[in-house]
């Protein structure tokens, strides 16, 4: 068990280094276009570009640049943001917090909802409840986030006028402004998690050991809670951990749409403005969060599954 955690952690570090290398090669070298042109624009002349390159240390050997860059990262110096005219860290951290808040509320509602509905529909496979939840899930995952944002806005903002149309939180934190972004995220992801849970539950319910439990004369409640859920919830746990990775994608659209000052909108702005330093930092953070949750999911799965834990 200890070896497993050590191995996974080691792989996590390995991944981060490879990712940093990829990002460095893509964004800081000439491989995909001159960074100077990217930053200064096509209409800059060679002198300006040369000057910029000198200033930012682009004429040094590549390996040296990489090591310095990585070193900076590790110590927290994430560079200067061109778009926001300030240290990247100062810009990024409050945005991360905002996205964390949005994510927290999204998950707080979405996870119990999808788990419960998934378990209920898996318990009674083929029933009306099962079919309707399945169809509803398919429907909701077929509507892209920007489309559901449009539809919900049309309904709740323009027609019913219950909720505000943007979530810029310019007057301080207002919960009402969080509702629509969270709603879009919840509606989109709920279908997927519920379906995974349902599949896992249905598979468990048709297994032979559940038949054994029933034929032992155990009360139905015990069969479900003690025997079935213990096995059925292992896979959904992993799925839920991996949804954090998905969230980092989903918030980009939602934050952009509702002008919510979150991490996702930041990544988008960085790329649209060719703000290299900001983009790199955001990408590294995003990957770091994703890889951490993946590692935790892996370890958790091993822990929850006695077959692997004690082999």
């Amino acid at each position: 068990m200890v070896t497993l955690i050590a191995k996974r952690f080691g792989f996590m570090v390995f991944t981060m280094i490879v990712v940093s290398l990829i990002l460095f090669i893509l964004l800081e070298t000439d491989l995909t276009g001159d960074p100077a042109i990217r930053v200064l624009g096509q209409f800059s002349n060679e002198e300006q570009r040369e000057l910029w390159r000198e200033q930012h240390g682009y004429n040094q050997p590549m390996l040296l640049r990489y090591v310095k860059w990585l070193g900076n990262f590790a110590t927290g110096d994430l560079g200067e943001s061109i778009r926001f005219k300030g240290p990247v860290a100062d810009v990024m951290l409050p945005r991360l917090w905002n996205t964390a808040v949005l994510g927290f509320w999204t998950f707080a509602i979405m996870i119990p909802l999808s788990l419960i509905l998934g378990v209920l529909s898996g318990m009674k496979e083929g029933s009306k409840l099962d079919r309707s939840i399945s169809i509803f899930g398919i429907l909701t995952t077929s509507v892209p986030e920007f489309a559901s944002a449009v539809i919900f806005s049309a309904l709740f903002v323009f027609t019913l006028k219950w909720l505000p149309g943007t979530s810029s939180m310019s007057g301080g934190f207002e919960f009402k402004q969080l509702v629509l972004p969270a709603l879009v995220l919840i509606v989109y992801d709920f279908g997927y998690v519920a379906r995974m849970t349902r599949a896992s539950m249905a598979e468990v319910m048709t297994s032979q050991y559940i038949r054994t439990a029933i034929l032992k004369g155990l009360p139905y409640k015990s069969v479900i809670l003690k025997h079935a859920l213990r096995n059925a919830l292992i896979a959904p746990f992993t799925v839920i951990m991996l949804q954090i990775n998905w969230l980092l994608s989903g918030v980009i659209v939602v934050e952009f749409f509702f002008a919510y000052k979150g991490f996702g909108a930041l990544i988008l702005e960085a790329s649209l403005n060719n703000d290299i330093a900001l983009l790199e930092a955001c990408a590294m953070v995003a990957v770091c969060v994703a890889v951490t949750t993946q590692t935790l999911a892996d370890i958790g799965y091993t822990f929850l599954n006695p077959r692997i834990r004690f082999s």
């Binding site: 200890v2 004369g217 096995n231 599954n305």
Partner: protein, 705 residues
């Protein structure tokens, strides 16, 4: 067994159907059964006869689309079909319990054994957790599991198959049920493990007075465990009676046919070939008019057997509960079990074809745990094959016998070129092939050494047509290249395996298990091989189908003078068709010799135990009982000395643990690996005693008197 008491279970005129989108499927048509207290009833039949459906009906758990159409099931006077869910829950586990076919799948992988055991009495009786725990521990000891404390704390995957099944049995007995249902409880287990479970089951009824219903397809097992037996065919009972009456003189043609499919201990392939039952089991909606068996019956009489469906009749001049469903049983003189049938010619042995010389196959396993890192032993070896020595001649049938983990599959892989040997030689037709992988062999070499695989459902690629697959083989072996010639050869092969020519166009899923296996045989013989390895070719097939496929294999081998290496764990089939036998255990060959030599003393102790474990469906044959205790060691950590020392019932002392046993030569090509001196081994009695004709007549006369 107390015949004065009220019966525990009465099934009367039971009729069970499944209701699917395609319509009603009548799985069971007419089933009646009475179980008295302390009795063990056997239900025997092939797949599709409805025996498992009956078991599920008794437990009232037929699934969403199954239902009892008519008839009744009365348990201790109460009609099970009328009970509410709560009442059923009361009965399940405490009065009626069930043991399943696959023990590992039947246990919850995420709960400890202690939880799963204790919840049975806790749910049904008003006892404390302490009391439940004590009972569970006691029960584990009763089912002869060593170290019950450790097992309580274990998870199912940490136990072996035999241990898991004992746990399931313990779980069933914990609340002292009156009736125990066992649905093929040993099918998934090794033969020697099976023997232990069978003995346990037999002891249960004696010790607890539990009635049992034992469902199986194996007549030998039924003989060893049951008092009365019911034979099912296509959804109904065709014959019922006590073990004595039914096994000595079966009256229904199907029962007789079943016995004729099973190799007898007296028979061998030349003297009394197996007589397969022709035709196929009818599907539930294709059942013929009148007697369901009549299309396959040799005693069919038109106008009588195909008119009306009829009921069971009491057999005259036989025990009071011997009944049969046949209108002509009085006229048919099937006779007692004798070995009749055509004699087949004995094949002369040719030159030596295969020579295995000190072959070893070790698999490397990388151990990445911290412990291994520290101790420096990162690479460990699974010793799959350890110094194998034997030979085979042209036209010979050599059987390789052993249980799971003995290394027979590994040996087959090395021969076929899927693996390379670690050391030693394997010479086929003079050439050493142990180091040559398949892709480096010439097409002729590949064609001359082919294999028939075990699982008929996987042996053919489901996505391609039959004709396509066989043609590919022919082309690959370079037998023919011209399109028409290839086609003709495919047709030829289909004829040889006795399948209709239009199977060329069919896909595997349109074929039955037996038909698929025939195609597997056709494929193996497509290139006129000099040697064929058959890896448990009939283990997954029903008895009657297995008999037909076995006979087919024999016929083809006889005609082509092919050497056959027959891998199996079933000693009765092996005795029937092999000339020589090689007994393997944990990668070692413990004994090898001709069939007669193996089945007679001197025995290697493992051979002895193996012979004693084989179920034999002849009530007049007696066996010495040997039950092995202890566990199969892991192949990564085999014992320093004799591999069998952990379970050997004749272990003489420390020498068995520490020193590898020597090869003792008993006769030409008969070798035993054991520390026990040969003279002692020669003194051992026969394990299986087959009475001679005069003894049989004597015994029968005594009984009838």
């Amino acid at each position: 067994m107390n015949t004065d008491q009220e019966p525990i279970l009465v099934c009367k005129d039971l009729c069970i159907s499944y209701y699917t989108r395609a319509g009603e499927i009548p799985a069971v048509v007419d089933f009646s059964l009475t179980v008295l207290p302390g009795e063990t009833i056997g239900i025997v039949g092939e797949s599709g006869c409805g025996k498992s459906t009956v078991a599920m009906a008794i437990m009232q758990h037929m699934g969403a689309n199954g239902g009892i159409k008519s008839g009744s099931i009365t348990f201790k006077g109460r009609d099970l079909t009328q009970l509410t869910d709560d009442e059923l829950r009361d009965i399940r586990g405490s009065e009626v319990a069930m043991i399943y076919q696959e023990p590992f799948a039947s246990l919850n992988p995420s709960l400890k054994i202690s939880t799963q055991l204790m919840e049975v009495p806790l749910a049904h009786e008003d006892i404390s957790t302490e009391e439940a725990r004590k009972r569970a521990l006691q029960m584990l000891a009763d089912v002869k599991l060593p170290d019950p404390e450790r097992i309580m704390e274990a998870y199912p995957h940490q136990l072996s198959g035999g241990q898991q099944q004992r746990v399931v049995i313990a779980m069933g007995l914990l609340s002292n049920p009156s009736l125990l249902l066992l649905d093929e409880p040993t099918t998934a287990l090794d033969v020697t493990v099976e023997a232990g479970i069978v003995k346990l089951v037999a002891d249960i009824s004696k010790k607890y007075g539990t009635s049992q219903i034992y469902i199986s397809h194996n007549l030998g097992l039924i003989l060893e465990t049951c008092d009365r037996v019911f034979v099912m065919y296509s959804g109904e009972v065709v014959e019922e009676g006590t073990i004595d009456s039914l096994f000595t003189w079966p009256r229904h043609p199907y029962t007789h046919g079943l016995f004729a499919c099973i190799p007898l201990p007296t028979a061998d392939k030349h003297a009394a070939p197996l007589k397969p039952i022709r035709g196929q089991l009818p599907l539930p909606f294709e059942r013929p008019q009148g007697c369901y068996y009549h299309p396959r019956c040799d005693h069919f009489e038109e106008g009588l057997c195909d008119v009306d469906h009829f009921k069971m009749e009491h057999v005259e001049n036989s025990a009071p509960d011997h009944r049969v469903r046949c209108l002509r049983y009085k006229d048919i003189n099937i006779g007692h079990q004798t070995g009749e049938g055509e004699q087949k010619e004995v094949l002369e042995l040719g030159d030596r074809v295969l020579n295995v010389d000190k072959m070893k196959k070790y698999y490397e396993v990388r151990d990445n745990s911290l412990k291994a890192l520290i101790s420096g032993k990162r690479i460990r070896y699974v010793k799959a094959n350890e110094e194998l020595n034997f030979t085979a001649h042209e036209g010979e049938t050599v059987a390789i016998v052993g249980e799971s983990g003995c290394g027979k599959s590994t040996f087959a892989k090395v021969l076929m070129g899927l693996e390379k040997s670690t050391e030693g030689e394997v010479r086929h037709l003079g050439k050493d092939i142990s180091g040559i992988a398949v892709r480096d062999r010439s097409p002729e070499e590949v064609a001359s050494l082919q294999m028939v695989f075990q699982n008929p459902f996987d042996t053919l690629n489901p996505s391609h047509s039959i004709g396509g697959q066989i043609s590919r083989v022919i082309k690959k072996f370079g037998v023919e290249t011209d399109k028409t010639k290839v086609f003709n050869r495919v047709m030829q092969l289909l004829d040889i395996v006795k399948l209709p020519r239009d199977f060329y166009f069919r896909k595997p899923r349109q074929l039955s298990g037996g038909q698929k296996q025939r195609i597997g045989i056709a494929r193996a013989f497509a290139g006129n091989p000099s040697m064929v390895i058959a890896d448990e070719p009939v283990s997954a097939l029903d008895v009657s189908v297995a008999a037909a496929v076995t006979e087919l294999l024999m016929d083809i081998q006889r005609e082509h003078k092919t050497t056959l290496l027959f891998i199996s764990h079933d000693l009765s089939v092996v005795r029937y068709l092999s000339d020589r036998i090689v007994v393997m255990y944990l990668g070692h060959i413990l004994e090898r010799g001709t069939t007669e030599q193996i089945f007679a003393p001197p025995y290697q102790p493992y051979t002895e135990a193996l012979l004693s474990a084989v179920p034999i469906a002849d009530p007049e044959v007696t066996k010495r009982e040997i039950v092995l205790e202890g566990n199969l060691p892991s192949a990564m950590n085999p014992p320093k000395g004799c591999p069998f020392c952990t379970r050997c019932h004749r272990k003489i002392g420390e020498i068995c643990d520490n020193e590898p046993p020597p090869e003792q030569i008993v006769a030409d090509r008969h070798v035993i690996k054991c520390h026990i001196p040969l003279e002692e081994l020669k003194q051992v009695e026969h394990v299986i005693h087959v009475p001679s004709e005069s003894e049989r007549l004597h015994a029968r006369a005594n009984r009838d008197a």
